[in-house]
């Protein structure tokens, strides 16, 4: 076995040596010369003569190279013929001569194309030699799993011989003393036994000697060239030294490569493994070797035919006549290109009349449609979301409605909580102001005012239970009747006008007149225009009213203790919407339809202008710490302003699909809310940090539903309970709801 293997590898092993020998043969006698001497070695030596050498040495005087080639081949033919006649050796020798050199040929065909030519020509002349290469120009491994190897001349498969199993062949080889001389020819599937001479030749080749023993490599040089009588003598210069030493630059290059290999810059990949199976109809856009190139963009695939394009589709694919008629009414682009039809057999399918047109259009598509590689970035949409704390960690906040305050007959426009959170007041379009007990939902007091109540505001001082209500052009200051005797005495004194304060005798109509109203036991502040909102100052003495139609006198500040009215000393820009006092400092916010202006009341000048960028501001609320403002708008947006940061909104929350009717901050919890005509109220976590470098944290918490839309209006007002994390919402459905945590 081992010998066999050796023998198999021996031709390859000898090859480099042979090549070497060929190189050396520059100065040696020509091959033809050698062949003349040993015709037996013809085939072993056949690859030696190359295009450069043979003509150069044999026919220096010949005119053209092609001629010389023919000459050479002719010479070979002669030689072969003569050899065949002379030697008359056994068939096996032929095998060696033809088979094994062929083997070599297969591997070295790039080296000498001439060799093939020569071989073919010699074959054509020698018909009796059977074509030995039965498998053609394909790798041998393709036949690895086949039962045959190659085809004979009539195209029939040549079956492989049955091989003995290894054990048997081993035993046989152990018995047979000649077995070491046998070797297996894979290409022809036969066992060749080498003769003793051949083995000797091989041995000599292994040693690097000339194959034939008779050949003398050191034969005396015969100078065939006729030096005399030559008209132009050849150069007699000695061979230059560079011919004998290796190139410096090549050496450098080799060193470079060696270093690169050692350092691992050049890596020898494992030979690529051929994919055994591949997807014949696979989408070439995904094939890796094509997409590896930069610019390759695969052509769009045409649509595959579906069931409806079958010659005999199911009935559900066949359109009815009505459908076909309706196609005629469609635009050309929308009309289906193909109307499925049924045929009884394939044969009856007519030629497709649009075949040419379709092919043309496809070509146009491929040619004209620019194919552009789109750059796509894969971003996880989750990662784009801001990191927000979990809702669970932000408890408590209002979630569930447990209490309803029912009694109003029409939409509740406004609610206000008492400072302790024991009662709330509400004003409604049915012309009543009601006071409710928060704890039980009981209505304690009702004032029939006869006109729609737009706004109610409870005095922020707990010891002054006065309620201001905006009714038409009037603002009513009502005594709620809560509190003990002292409180009541004080309230009654406050709400009593002894004598009208000296009226300005100016020709203009006064902004507001203070009147005693005996019916409701309070003060009626009659304005010159309809009042839309009333807000108290934190000390409970001043209150501001807003008249949207009041133009330059649209925002007015009243003083309760002195029964005085004054317009704000600032110019108004646009229609005033609402006004609010700063919770701690003497700062006054006036919001117009577009912007919010912040005035310092002490210095009497404009401090800041908050540019909302909204179409129409509807409401405004100030954070209890005073530095942050939220503004609700008619387009459903809520803007959060950090006044220390900028006059632009810090955050814009567009959460409501309809108008935001009101916004509110909680007095102590970090909560704010907005309510809207879409019948929902949103509760947000709005944490303002005392650290000025940290931005407020805003987190939506809950959508509170429950109100029903009435006349297109939803929730009209929302207010937080002053001490609990509860939210009151007033709905256009005349219900007030209390959402608890």
């Amino acid at each position: 076995m081992k010998l066999n293997l050796d023998a198999e590898s021996s031709p390859q092993a000898t090859r480099p040596k042979k090549k070497h020998g060929r190189k050396n043969s520059h100065l040696k006698p020509s091959k033809s010369h050698a062949e003349k001497q040993n015709s037996d070695e013809l085939h072993l030596e056949q690859e030696a003569p190359t295009a450069d050498e043979a003509p150069l040495q044999q026919h220096l005087d010949s005119a053209s190279l092609s001629d010389s080639k023919e000459d050479v081949s002719d010479e070979f033919k002669d030689l072969k013929l003569s050899k065949a006649r002379e030697s008359g050796s056994a068939d096996e020798q032929d095998h060696v001569n033809t088979g094994s050199p062929d083997n070599l040929d297969q591997e070295n065909e790039d080296d000498n194309p001439i060799r093939d030519q020569v071989d073919e020509e010699s074959d054509s002349s020698e018909d009796e030699v059977a074509p030995r290469n039965t498998i053609g120009d394909v790798p041998l491994e393709w036949y690895r799993d086949e039962k045959h190897i190659g085809y004979d001349i009539s195209g029939k498969k040549i079956l492989k011989k049955e091989r003995e199993d290894k054990l048997q062949s081993f035993l046989a080889s152990a018995d047979d003393s000649k077995s070491w001389r046998k070797l297996y020819d894979e290409y022809n599937d036969e066992v060749i036994e080498l003769s003793k001479e051949e083995v000797k030749q091989l041995r000599r080749l292994l040693k690097g000697k000339a194959p034939h023993a008779d050949f003398d490599p050191y034969a005396p040089y015969v100078d065939w060239f006729k030096w005399d009588d030559a008209k132009h003598p050849l150069s007699n210069a000695p061979e230059p030294k560079r011919r004998f030493i290796r190139s410096k630059w090549e050496a450098k290059k080799v060193v470079q490569l060696v270093r690169a290999i050692r350092n691992g810059h050049i890596k020898f990949d494992k030979p690529k493994e051929e994919q055994r199976f591949y997807h014949l109809w696979g989408d070439d856009s995904s094939s890796t070797e094509k997409t590896a190139h930069l610019s390759y963009i695969p052509a769009p695939k045409p649509k595959f035919p579906g069931h409806d394009e079958s010659y005999n589709p199911s009935l559900e694919y066949i359109p009815t006549q009505e459908e076909i008629n309706s196609y005629q009414l469609m635009y050309d682009e929308d009309r289906p290109k193909f109307i499925p039809r049924r045929f009884t057999s394939m044969r009856s399918v007519p030629a497709y009349d649009n075949a040419l047109k379709d092919a043309f259009e496809r070509c146009l598509d491929l040619y004209l449609c620019p194919r552009v590689r789109k750059k796509r970035i894969n971003i996880d949409p989750e990662s784009l979301k801001p990191k927000l704390p979990s809702r669970k960690d932000l408890r408590p906040y209002p979630t569930t409605c447990y209490l309803e305050f029912r009694g109003h007959k029409d939409a509740v426009m406004s609610i206000s909580t008492e400072a302790n959170g024991q009662w709330i007041a509400s004003g409604s379009l049915d012309g009543t102001v009601r006071i409710w007990e928060v704890e039980t939902g009981r209505c304690l007091k009702v004032w029939e005012l006869g006109e729609a109540v737009k706004y109610v505001a409870w005095n922020p001082l707990p010891e002054l239970p006065i309620l201001a209500a905006a009714v038409g052009v009037d603002v009513l200051l009502l005594n709620t009747g809560f509190g003990d005797g002292e409180v009541q005495a004080k309230v009654k004194e406050l709400l009593h006008i002894d004598a009208l304060p000296a009226t300005d005798n100016s020709d203009k109509t006064p902004i507001a007149t203070w009147l005693q109203d005996d019916k409701v036991e309070g003060i009626r502040l009659r304005h010159f225009k309809t009042v839309s909102s009333v807000e108290w100052h934190r000390k409970g003495d001043y209150l501001s009213t807003v008249m949207p139609a009041g133009e330059s006198r649209g925002v007015v500040i009243h003083q309760l203790s002195r029964k005085l009215t004054q317009k704000i000393p600032f110019k108004l820009h646009g229609l005033p919407v609402s006004s609010i006092f700063h919770p701690t400092r003497s700062i006054f916010f006036v919001s117009t339809k577009k912007n919010v202006r912040v005035y310092d009341l002490l210095k009497q000048k404009l401090m800041k202008k908050l540019e909302t960028g909204l179409r129409e501001v509807s409401s405004i609320a100030v954070h209890p710490a005073g530095d942050n403002v939220i503004v609700g708008s008619r387009e459903g947006k809520v803007c959060w302003f950090d006044m220390d940061l900028s006059s632009q909104p810090y955050k814009i929350l567009s959460c409501h699909p309809k108008d935001v009717t009101n916004v509110a901050f909680h007095r102590s919890y970090p909560l704010f809310a907005s309510c809207s005509d879409d019948c929902t109220a949103y509760v947000f976590h709005g944490m303002v940090y005392s650290d000025l470098t940290q931005n407020p944290l805003i987190r939506p918490l809950e959508i509170l539903r429950g109100h029903k839309a009435t006349n297109g209006r939803g929730v009209m007002d929302c207010k937080f309970h002053p001490r609990q994390p509860w939210l009151f919402t007033a709905g256009a459905d005349s219900v007030i709801k209390l959402y608890c945590h």
Partner: protein, 434 residues
């Protein structure tokens, strides 16, 4: 236990023995009998009733509740055994008690306005407070014997100060007009029907609405919680009016001149930050209070300091102390959960029981004064529920009110009285709490 047997055979039988602590007519023979394992409470009740009927032909059917190892059976017997891992092989001892459900509903006692407070701690009458500012004494359903007249605003809480005395009982009412009033009530002086009583003492001192009132067991002192975040202690004794605490005063605008006392508070307990919505005074020196600031506090009356507080997380409306050893605290508030704490447990921040069937705020919760397991709760969803600590389901739901129930209490140990926003006082009778 044998799992296959339970699943394959629905009519599998279990050996049980019924035992009870009830008296003679309700006793069944104690020998073991075999009953189907798929019986529920109703089935068991039928079995016991049949057994009783067999022994006593005059027996009237009676609902029973069943306890196995101290737990109520609230599913089918085999499920219960499976859930508790009790073997069905040996003879099972089932204790039965009379079901705690109201047998009868009295006619409602109609008020003029919402009934905000009821007190049934005196067995002779029910005291109610109403939003029209009048307190009423009901001897039975529909029979109002006395009207307490004097408050200028709604009464928020009532309490019977000394229930032991039979002849003359002192009543206390707290009102949203920031005062408390004390009344003397004796059963005998009944001339017209109903008799109007005027208060003998007005307690002024709170700055805002008084929300709750409770009396000491001995009846000398009462305490009150108010919206001004304080708890005030007052003396009920009328002999003390000469002292510096009380001032004698005559009312002139009344036709009949009568003496009325005005009292100041003896002490003020400050600590709560919001409305004190409920106070109870279960023992001599200790007051419990619940507040909208989400805390429950226990106050030492002598020193006026709060001994501990439990933080609940919700605004609280009601509080009661009772149960096992009169130490468990039950409270409810602005969510539908009745929570029970055991202050004896170390680190008592979390409740030991939570009852969750209500749908709205809890307005009232009261322990049964005899049983250590039973309590009732009233809610704004219009229902009064009876609870037993041994099961998480309500024992009974009294759904007689049309609107919010604002207050509820036990009466005479076997009835539940409740008043609500439908202006009615409802009495449910015949609740057998053993």
């Amino acid at each position: 236990m044998d799992m296959d047997g339970v699943s394959e055979d629905s009519s599998r039988r279990i050996q049980v023995r019924f035992i009870t602590k009830l008296m003679a007519p309700c006793r069944v023979p104690t020998n073991a009998i075999a009953i189907p394992s798929n019986l529920t409470r109703l089935g068991l009740s039928t079995v016991v009733n049949n057994l009783l009927l067999a022994g006593n032909p005059e027996w009237e059917a009676e609902p029973f509740d069943f306890l196995i190892d101290g737990e109520f059976v609230r599913m089918s017997l085999e499920q219960f055994l499976l859930a508790k891992g009790i073997s069905a092989e040996k003879v099972l001892e089932i204790e039965y008690i009379k079901a705690v459900v109201p047998r009868r509903e009295e006619e409602p006692s109609v008020h003029d306005d919402w009934v905000s407070a009821v007190d049934g701690s005196h067995s002779g009458f029910i005291l109610t407070g109403c939003y029209d500012g009048l307190g009423r004494v009901w001897e039975s359903s529909g029979l109002c014997t006395h009207i307490l007249e004097g408050h200028k605003d709604a009464i928020s809480s009532v309490c019977v100060v000394n229930p032991e005395e039979a002849a003359s009982v002192t009543l206390a009412t707290a009102s949203k007009d920031q005062t408390l009033r004390l009344w003397k009530y004796s059963k005998d002086d009944r001339d017209s029907n109903p008799t109007k009583i005027r208060p003998f003492k007005i307690l002024k001192g709170h700055r805002l609405s008084v929300q709750s009132v409770a009396s000491q067991k001995s009846g000398d002192l009462i305490c009150s919680g108010s919206w001004d975040c304080t708890i005030n202690l007052w003396q009920t004794d009328e002999t003390h009016f000469e002292g510096n605490v009380s001032i004698k005063k005559r009312r002139k605008n009344d036709q009949v001149e009568e003496s009325q006392l005005e009292g100041d508070s003896v002490a003020t307990l400050v600590g709560h930050t919001q409305c004190v919505s409920a106070v109870v005074w279960p023992q001599h020196g200790e007051i419990y209070s619940a507040s909208w600031d989400h805390s429950i506090r226990r106050w030492d009356v002598e020193t006026g300091k709060d001994l501990f507080n439990i933080f609940c997380g919700k605004a609280l409306n009601c509080l009661d102390v009772g149960g096992e050893g009169s130490t468990l605290i039950a409270a409810g508030g602005s969510d539908p959960t009745v929570r029970i704490w055991d202050p004896r447990k170390p680190g008592t921040s979390s409740p030991i029981f939570q009852f969750l069937s209500h749908k709205s705020w809890i307005s009232s919760c009261k322990w049964h004064d005899k049983s250590s397991f039973h309590l009732l709760s009233a809610s704004y969803d219009g229902k009064v529920r009876l609870w037993d600590l041994r099961t998480a389901w309500p024992l009974a739901v009294i759904d007689s009110h049309k609107d919010k129930v604002l207050s509820a209490d036990w009466w005479k140990g076997d009835s539940v009285v409740s008043g609500g926003a439908d202006s009615k006082l409802r009495i449910s009778l015949g609740i057998c709490v053993s």
